[in-house]
């Protein structure tokens, strides 16, 4: 006889407590490693130093400005990717002919490294804001199409068949059955994709940028300002986490009917 441990549930309080402990442990290791001199200050700055840089950057307004500009780029790049990727994905998940046209190309391009596109994008669209938005678009679009197609295909056949036997035509089946049925999964997909969009930000701001969080990190590297690099990375992490939580919250409110 054994005590079942695998996948055994724990209380929400316990979960939160363990999560907090993990974060505190990380912080503790960081503090110990940097302040006891195991690692050189230049490689791993003291957390307090990072914090003081952070506070100073907030005070002089540079952090806020850079965050604003980065959020703007991500939002626009992601909105374009959604505007094209969601309809393409739904059509691809619904019609085999379109799948044959779209899927192989997307599978091919999604393996190409996004930073490698940067020089090309500079040639194509210049070095303005549109270049940064294009990088985020390319990074997310091809993945998004494939994932949305999977969401559309995950709608059970018999749900669609039930629609047919109640009188839906092809268009009605897509708008009245496939789309509402896939919405919760679609929102989950968007939640994951927006996380990836944040990771492409740094690539995007390689393009002759002079503002933005990614740019701040790159610039700090040139001057070996590791405290500023850390502050930037942590902030991107936090912003990503915040977006993720907002999406999760909206999903829960929007779809009370999910099991």
């Amino acid at each position: 006889m054994i005590k079942i441990k695998i996948r055994k549930g724990i209380s929400k309080r316990k979960y939160t407590a363990l999560a907090t402990i993990a974060f505190l442990a990380l912080l503790a290791i960081w503090t110990i490693a940097s302040s006891l001199g195991f690692v050189k200050e230049i490689f791993l700055p003291n957390p307090l130093k990072v914090l003081s840089y952070f506070v100073q950057a907030v005070k002089d307004g540079s952090l806020w400005e850079n965050t604003k500009v980065s959020v703007y780029r991500i939002t626009l790049g992601f909105v374009y990717a959604m505007a094209l990727g969601i309809p393409a994905g739904i059509l691809m998940g619904s019609f085999k002919k379109l799948e044959a046209l779209i899927r192989p190309i997307c599978e091919f391009i999604r393996y190409m490294p996004v930073p490698a596109f940067v020089p090309l994008i500079m040639v194509w669209v210049g070095i303005g804001e549109s270049a940064k938005i294009t990088v985020i678009f390319i990074g997310t679009f091809f993945q998004l199409v494939l994932m949305v197609a999977d969401d559309a295909m995950s709608v059970p056949d018999d749900l669609i068949n039930a629609g047919y036997t109640l009188g839906t035509g092809t268009g009605q089946t897509i708008f009245k059955i496939i789309i509402p049925a896939m919405l919760p999964r679609l929102m989950e997909t968007l939640r994951m994709m927006i996380g990836w969009a944040w990771t492409y930000l740094v690539s995007a701001e390689l393009v002759a940028a002079n503002s933005g969080l990614g740019y701040t990190i790159l610039k700090s590297q040139r001057f070996l300002k590791t405290d500023a690099i850390f502050a930037g990375i942590v902030l991107i992490g936090l912003l990503g986490l915040a977006t993720d939580r907002i999406f999760a919250f909206i999903n829960k409110k929007l779809f009370p009917w999910t099991e």
């Binding site: 036997t165 092809t170 009605q172």
Partner: protein, 276 residues
Amino acid sequence: MFFKKKTAEPAQNHIEANLANSKIYVKDVKKVYSSAKGETLAMTGVNLNVLENEFVCIVGPSGCGKSTLLRMIAGLDEISGGQIVIQDKNIIGPGPDRGMVFQSYTLFPWMSVGDNIRFGLKLKNVPKEKQEEIVDKYLKIIGLEKFKDSYPKELSGGMKQRVAIARALANSPEVLLMDEPFSALDPQTKADMQVLMRQIWQVEKPTVIFVTHDIDEAVFLSSRIFVLTARPGTVKRDIPVYLPHERNLGLKDTEEFIRIRREVNSLIDRNPIQEN
């Protein structure tokens, strides 16, 4: 390219189908599955004729294609040969004239119970007040008036299938197709559902084609049973069920019921499990 409308051609030899008041007429239907290994003949020479207001059950050994036959009548699977006619028209695809209740739960989870039942009526542009009237009528028949505004996730399996039946019937189809709708339910719920289904049929008189592997269920519900052979499936026998019109669970213990059940049972091809 994607919204091309197909129109059903009138059946060529529909005179045959019009003898008596035939609803569904299946003639020489064949089903072949093609795969890399070659072609498999799943069904061949299937003939059956379902009359108006009949409650017909289709039984047969597993793999005989009874569900496939039903899906071909629904227009969800293609026939490889022969023809299927619904009231003078060849079946070329699914449509609201053939309502269907599936084995899996197919209520639209984002709609309330009431909106699920209303779905087909809305598509047909039935006036609002009339929609409401029909929805309420069927909610009453299935005894779920209190659940009109509930989401499907709040219902038990049996309740979900009751709503699925109401949703199909509210659309007033020419024929109601049922594909093992009670097979996932526990025995008590299943028995209750059989009584309810029989009551609905006695009052509303829909034409029903009901596929099941449960012979007890087939005898209890139907007025005629088609027994299919093992693969390649074809109709082996067509057995009329002469049992009282009003039926309750006590019927299952009567001699006549047991006799018919035994007869149907003896007709089903067995594939005994080999002892090594």
